[in-house]
Symmetry: C2
Subunit: 390 residues, 2 copies
C-alpha cells in the first residue's frame, strides 16, 4: 500500500465489531467534525437537502451530508462556491460534507455523453451546453467546492452490462483514479477511491485490489443501486468489502432502502447516502418501523396517530397523520418538508440504532427483528426481506 | 354600547399613544397568549403559513397568526379540526389564532355565488360542490375551529361599486352581524365586528356607528385592499377608525405593503394580516429596508451580501443573495422557505420598530424616514410614498 494517504485529513477509529457479521462501529474525524459510523448522509445535490433547512438536518442527528460536483459545476459553478469560502459557507452547513465526483451523473443524467480515455464530453441536462469532465477537471471542481471528502472520477457502466464492458470500465476507473491522485490539489480534503465492476465479482475483486494498491484514506463501492437484483448487490458488496483494508471507512454509494442499509452494514459498509428519504418525503411516502405509509391515501383522513409511534422526530412529536394528509391533499409545501424531516430522522435513527446494537453485540438479532417488522406493509423494502444478512 | 362584550376573552390595554398621529401602542391578552400591537399576523390560510414551519413563525417574532374558515370548511372540514381539539393542536401553533369568517373568500374565490338574505350559496373552488354559508353556519364552523378571535360573516362588495350597492352590503353586514352575535356559541372565543362600506365614507360612517352600537370586543375594517386607490383606502380607514372606541383593538383586514401598514398605524389601526410576505417569498421577491429585490435577477448572481444588511433574521445571518438566487434558479424548495422566512421577519421587525417608535414618541419622524428609504428601489410600495401619514 502506498503512503498517498499519510497526509490524509481523515482519522478513522474502529470502536467495536460485530461477532456474527462483518458490521463495524467506528468514528471518522474530519476537518469539520466527527461522524459516527455506520452513518447515513442525506443528499444535498445542489447545495441544499431538498425541502429541509440546515437546522432540520442538525435536529435529525445527521453528521455528514453529500453534495454533487456535477450539479454544482453546471449551476451555480464552483467559482461562486469558492468565492464564498467553499460549500460549508455557501450552504450554511458547518459539519462534514462529501462531494460526489460527477462520474455517476455524467452517465445517468447528461445527454449524448462521449467517453474517451481523456474524460467525458456531454451536454448539460439543464441547458444543453457542451461540457467536458476529466479526472483532473473533477478534482479541480471538487477542490474548489471544498468538501471534506471528495470522490475519484470513475466510469460507471450501465446495468446490465457484459463482463467485457464491466472490465473495461473498471480498468479505466483505475487509470482515472491514478490521475485523480496526481491531480488532487488540496491536502485538507480526503480523496476516496471507488471500486467498479458491475455485477461481476471477478471484476470487482480485480478493481478492489488495484484501487487498494493505489492507496486511499477511504474506499467506495460504486456502480451499485443501478437496477441490479438485490442478491447481486449483496454478493458484489461482500466480495468488495472483503478486499478493502479493515482500518479504512467503506462507503456504499447511492444505497438505499432501510432493509438494504441494514444488509450492507452486516457486510462491512460504514457510510451510506441515498435520495430516498427526501424524494419519498416530497412524494408523500413515509418510512416507519412497521413499513411505509402513502400519506395521500384516504385511510389517513381521520387518523389522530403520529406517523410512527416510536419516533421522536419533530414531525411525530407534533403532528397527526390526518394533518399531514391534509397538507399533501392541499398541496402545501409544509407536507413535503415535514415528511422529508421525518424520513431523514428515520434514517438517522436506523443507523444510530445499528451502531448501538453493534456496540452491545446484538446487531444480528436486532437487525433481523427490525427487518421483519419493516417487511409486511412495506413497498420500499426489498422483495427478499428474509434473505440472511450474512 | 351593549354589554355583549363583557364576557369577552380578550383584554386590551393601551400603553402609549403617539402625539403627532393616531398611532397606538397596545397589548392584547388572549386565551393563548399576549399580542403586542400594532401587530402583523402571517396568513396560514389552510392551517399552515405557506413554506414555513411553526418554529420559523416563532423565530420571526410573530405572536398571532390567521387561518381561514372558508378554506378549512371546504378542506379538511371543521369536524376533523375539532376532533384534534381545535386549530392550535391541529397545526401545532400554541399562540393566538384569528380565523376569517369566509365572507371575503365567498365573494373572491367561489364560483357562481348567490347572495340572499339568509346567506350565500356557492360552488367550491376546489371541487365545484355546492356549499352554503350563512352567519350561523360561519359561527358554527369558527366555533369548531376554535381560534381565539373569530370574525363576523359579512358581505364584501366588489370594487368599484356604487354607493347604493355599498349601502346595501353594509346594511346586510349589520343584519348578519346581529345574527352572528346571536349564534356565536363559544365564550372562549372573541367575535369581532366588521365595518363595510366600500370607498364611500358616508356608508363607512353609518356602518361603523351601527356595528359599534351592537358592541364587539374588537372591530375590523373590511373590504379594503380590494383594488381601490391608496388615497381611498386612507380616507376610509381614517373615517372608520375615528368612530371606533379607543379602548378596543382595530384590525385592517388583508393589508398590505410595508408603506400601507405604516400609514394605517398612523390612522389608528392595531392589527394587520396579509399574504404578501409569504406570497412574495415564494415568488422570489424580497422585502428590504431599502426596497424590494427580485432574487431571480442576474444582478444577484455573484453577490456575497445578505438580503438586508440590517436584518438579523435566520436567512440574513446565514445566506448570501448569491445562494438565495441559486436556490430559486435551481427551483429548490429552500428558496421559497428562506425568502418567506425573511419576509415574515421583515414584517415583524416593521411592527416591532413601529411599537418602539410609538413608545419613544418618535413615530412620525421614524415612519417618514422608514418610508423614504423604502421608496426608491421599491415596486412593492405605494405610488405616493410622500403622502403625509396623518
Amino acid at each position: 500500500m502506498s503512503d498517498a494517504e499519510t497526509s490524509s485529513p481523515l482519522r478513522f477509529s474502529l470502536l467495536a465489531a460485530d461477532a456474527g457479521s462483518r458490521a463495524r462501529r467506528g468514528r471518522l474525524a474530519t476537518p469539520h467534525g466527527t461522524v459516527d459510523t455506520p452513518a447515513f448522509m442525506p443528499v444535498g445535490t445542489a447545495a441544499t437537502v431538498k425541502g429541509l433547512t440546515v437546522e432540520h438536518l442538525e435536529e435529525s442527528g445527521a453528521q455528514m451530508i453529500l453534495a454533487n460536483a456535477y450539479h454544482l459545476h453546471l449551476r451555480p459553478g464552483e467559482a461562486l462556491v469558492k468565492a464564498h469560502g467553499g460549500l460549508h459557507r455557501f450552504m450554511g452547513w458547518d459539519g462534514p460534507i462529501l462531494t460526489d465526483s460527477g462520474g455517476f451523473q455524467v452517465f445517468s443524467l447528461a445527454a449524448s455523453s462521449r467517453i474517451e480515455e481523456s474524460g467525458v464530453t456531454f451536454r448539460s441536462h439543464i441547458d444543453g451546453s457542451l461540457v467536458e469532465l476529466t479526472p483532473e477537471r473533477s478534482m479541480k471542481v471538487q477542490n474548489d467546492l471544498g468538501a471534506d471528502l471528495i470522490m475519484a472520477f470513475d466510469e460507471c457502466p450501465a446495468n446490465p452490462c457484459t463482463i467485457d464492458v464491466a472490465r473495461a470500465a473498471a480498468e479505466r476507473t483505475v487509470r482515472w483514479a491514478e490521475r485523480c491522485l496526481a491531480a488532487h490539489g488540496n491536502p485538507a480534503q480526503a480523496l476516496l477511491g471507488i471500486v467498479q465492476g458491475g455485477v461481476h465479482p471477478e471484476v470487482r475483486e480485480w478493481c478492489a485490489t488495484r484501487i487498494v494498491e493505489l492507496g486511499f484514506p477511504a474506499y467506495a463501492v460504486g456502480g451499485m443501486a443501478v437496477g441490479e437484483a438485490p442478491e447481486e448487490t449483496r454478493r458484489n458488496v461482500s466480495v468488495t468489502t472483503a478486499l478493502l483494508p479493515e482500518d479504512r471507512p467503506r462507503y456504499l454509494m447511492g444505497m438505499g432502502k432501510p432493509d438494504d442499509i441494514l444488509d450492507a452494514i452486516g457486510r462491512g459498509i460504514d457510510l451510506f447516502d441515498c435520495v430516498l428519504p427526501t424524494r419519498c418525503g416530497r412524494n408523500a411516502l413515509a418510512f416507519t418501523r412497521t413499513g411505509t405509509l402513502k400519506m395521500r391515501n384516504a385511510e389517513h383522513r381521520g387518523s389522530l396517530l403520529p406517523l410512527d409511534a416510536e419516533c421522536q422526530c419533530p414531525t411525530c412529536r407534533r403532528y397527526t397523520r390526518a394533518y399531514l394528509r391534509h397538507l399533501f391533499v392541499a398541496d402545501e409545501m409544509l407536507g413535503p418538508t415535514l415528511l422529508s424531516l421525518h424520513n431523514v430522522c428515520f434514517y438517522q435513527d436506523l443507523v444510530r440504532d445499528a451502531r448501538d446494537a453493534i456496540e452491545r453485540g446484538t446487531f444480528g438479532p436486532w437487525s433481523d427483528a427490525f427487518r421483519r417488522r419493516l417487511a409486511p406493509a412495506s413497498e420500499a423494502t426489498s422483495p427478499e426481506p428474509n434473505d440472511p444478512v450474512r
